[in-house]
């Protein structure tokens, strides 16, 4: 019986789509768990290094590194962390929207902005809308490595040291929970004042021996610290990406399911109508004989 052939093919194609979206959902769920693990794994390093920097800053109160000094802000540098791939709901769009509001506010104050970008989506964004992009890195994959970020971060830090940029901010999504990602812009350099915990923890100064010398050591530490902060935001953004994708794909699978139900209903009705018609044709044909 050749009833509703179009509907049947449509149902099949929606079913195929659902297979893909539910597979993507499961993949995202497992990747999310790993990304969350990476997120927690990177925390101790940043904490320790912050503590060491805190100790050193206490040991040499007279030496202020450039990264710790506030200066008049004329140009703001943004490190923008986005995902490489789409199909993750409004994750990147929300971030870009927040960013645009920020940039608009800065421009009204007559400040300039420069960018360093991580991830394909941000690259696409700036390709479409312009903007001064100093460096970029894309395709860092699901398991980002710190070494991939070194060059990009260094470009920004060099610009800061050279005075081309007076403040560095990082824009990324904070992982609140599986359902919620919070687009956030936070300041990297100059380092915001250290949280007061150090003072209570250690009342006295350490008299360190430095090898090779204090400035170089502090330099190295600060660069590593900032890199680790950027790395953390990249990892966190990756976890956000996966959870956003998981939610988006779950919604898509659900939608496909209800679409299939609807189509099935239409198909059944059409089939029933066709049968009824056939019977009435036979009956009326028999009656005519």
């Amino acid at each position: 019986m050749a009833v509703g052939k179009e509907i049947r093919t449509q149902i099949n194609s929606v079913k195929n789509t659902r297979k893909i979206t539910s597979a993507m959902e499961m993949v995202a769920a497992s990747k999310m768990r790993k990304a969350q693990d990476r997120m927690t794994a990177s925390r101790p390093y940043a904490e320790r290094i912050a503590r060491v920097i805190g100790h050193l800053a206490m040991a040499n109160p007279q030496y202020k590194h450039a990264f710790m000094q506030q200066r008049e802000v004329k140009t703001v540098g943004y490190v923008i962390v986005s995902s490489d791939r789409g199909l993750c709901g409004g994750l990147n769009n929300n971030l870009f929207r927040k960013l645009i509001n920020d940039i608009r506010a800065l421009q009204e104050e007559g400040k300039r902005v420069k960018f360093v970008i991580v991830g394909n989506k941000a690259l696409g964004f700036f390709r479409r809308f312009g903007g001064e992009v100093m460096a970029q890195i894309t395709h860092i994959g699901d398991a980002p490595h710190l070494e991939d970020l070194i060059g990009t971060v260094k470009t920004m830090l060099d610009a800061y040291t050279a005075g081309e940029v007076d403040e560095i901010r990082v824009a990324y999504n904070v992982f609140v929970n599986t359902m919620t990602q919070q687009p956030t812009v936070s300041q990297l350099v100059p380092l915001p004042e250290a949280e007061g915990e150090e003072k209570t923890e250690l009342g006295h100064h350490w008299d360190y021996i430095y090898e090779p010398d204090a400035k170089e050591v502090l330099d190295d530490l600060l660069i590593r610290y900032i890199e680790s902060l950027v790395y953390q935001s990249v990892v966190e953004n990756a976890a956000c990406e996966q959870s956003a994708r998981m939610v988006a794909m779950k919604a898509a699978s659900d939608n496909a399911g209800s679409l299939i139900d609807e189509l099935q209903l239409i198909y059944n009705k059409a089939r029933q109508a066709a049968i009824t018609q056939e019977i009435s044709e036979i009956v009326s044909g028999a009656a005519a004989v």
């Binding site: 100790h55 929207r97 001064e132 490595h145 070194i150």
Partner: protein, 141 residues
């Protein structure tokens, strides 16, 4: 009881070790150093090599390979901040140049000014679409 020193070995990508040791050996830039409890405070750079922690009491030595990093020594705490990548000023510089070049390649005809209004309009549209899909889903149920 013998004296021990607390040792933390962390890298940016993970926590490697945390525990007590009687002696810690690390490849500092000026040569390998051995750190016993109550060592004088010291901060130094590490070169590629092996960090070893001797937990004492005849237990087996813990080994960690580091490709560089920093070490902070306090009388009762040693913190090893291990690098996960090989670092050198010229390598970092090359990486920075590479990142810049990539930006130039990818955004060959970029303009310095960012078209905020256009970007905002497009983003708003995308968000409206997402919201519409969401609403569609909720009304169907």
């Amino acid at each position: 009881m013998s004296m021990t020193i607390h040792v933390d070995v962390v890298s940016a990508e993970g926590h490697l070790f945390s525990g007590q040791g009687e002696m810690v050996y690390a490849p500092a830039v000026m040569g390998e150093i051995g750190i016993a409890p109550r060592h004088t405070p010291l901060v130094t750079r590490l070169k590629a090599g092996e960090v070893r922690v001797d937990p004492g009491q005849g237990k087996e030595m813990e080994h960690f390979y580091v490709s560089g990093g920093m070490i902070e020594v306090q009388p009762h705490v040693v913190t090893v901040l291990a690098d996960t990548a090989v670092r050198a000023a010229d390598l970092d510089e090359a990486a920075a140049q590479e990142a810049k070049r990539r930006a130039e390649d990818a955004l060959a005809n970029r303009t310095a000014d960012i078209e905020l209004a256009k970007a905002q309009a497009e983003l708003n549209e995308a968000m409206a679409q997402l919201r519409a899909i969401d609403r569609l889903r909720k009304t169907k149920r």
